[in-house]
């Protein structure tokens, strides 16, 4: 994924309504009306959120009769999670080793005193 696309995915994920829409889509494809039902926002507002999600590749949309179906696309989400995990893993592993080193240094100080 291009880096600018990655930051667009992060922007898209920053909105709680859009994350709730993604959560709903993990249970299967849904129409705009179905996605709007749990929220106190209008269908056009949901449509705008869907447009954002579609633009960054987090969902794709198809037609079923007169309704438009939204489908969750896992790959960009996977990459966004992967990025966060790697950064976290790097520092988490480093700090974990630092804990051990500090323990050793503390023991040395105790032995000296």
């Amino acid at each position: 994924m291009a880096v600018d696309q990655l930051s667009e995915v992060f922007s898209a994920l920053a909105d709680p309504t859009r994350r709730a829409i993604l959560r709903r889509l993990t249970d299967g494809d849904a129409t705009v009306a179905e996605l709007a039902a749990p929220f106190s926002v209008s269908q056009p507002a949901i449509s705008r959120h869907l447009k954002v999600l579609e633009q960054v590749g987090l969902i794709s949309r198809s037609r079923r009769a007169t309704a438009r179906l939204s489908h969750l696309e896992a790959e960009p989400l996977r990459e966004a999670v992967g990025w966060l995990m790697d950064y976290r893993a790097y520092w988490s592993a480093s700090y974990h080793r630092l804990d051990g080193l500090l323990d050793g240094l503390l023991d040395e100080l105790k032995d000296e005193s």
Binding site: S7, F10, P16, A74, L77, D86, Y87, L98
Partner: protein
């Protein structure tokens, strides 16, 4: 450990507590033989080439992977490094001119030190791209767990 990377901001903030006084953390950050023992991913070996711990002093270290490929990072200290605060610029050897600024603060209460690392990049794209490239090792190893995580992330409202 808490990692904050807000969308649209060219910044990453990490906070982490350590059960040690900040003087010891300062030593772990500024003594070459100590730094080499903890910094970096498990898969890489760290060689500390230079740590000139003073205002305007240069630092340089090299990560080596299992095949011996070297990843050099270098930069300068800004302001006199102390157990309260270390400010340093970073540049990856293969990308001159792409610089980020790290401010590390150590706050001690009752023998526990809270480390806060604030990293500021030149642009949001730099942050998203540079940090990701820097952390590329391990992506493949963690792929298996990702499907799970994707579902969980999507389910976190």
């Amino acid at each position: 450990m808490k990692v904050i990377a807000e969308p649209g901001l060219p910044q990453v903030i990490i906070t982490r507590e350590f059960a040690a006084p900040r003087e010891l953390l300062f030593r772990a950050y500024t003594e070459p033989e100590l730094l080499a023992r903890w910094l970096g991913p498990d898969s890489l070996t760290l060689t500390v080439n230079q740590l000139d711990v003073r205002h305007g002093g240069r630092w340089r270290w090299t990560h080596y992977d299992a095949d011996g490929k070297a990843y050099v990072f270098h930069g300068l200290y800004h302001g006199t490094p102390s157990p309260e605060r270390i400010v340093q610029t970073y540049e990856f050897g293969e990308r001159p001119g792409h610089v980020y600024l790290n401010t590390i603060t150590f706050e001690e209460h009752d023998g526990t030190t809270t480390l806060r690392q604030n990293t500021v990049f030149q642009t949001v794209e730099e942050r998203d791209g540079y940090v990701r490239a820097d952390m590329e090792t391990g992506i493949r190893a963690s792929m298996a767990k990702l499907d799970d995580l994707v579902t969980r992330l999507a389910k976190e409202a």
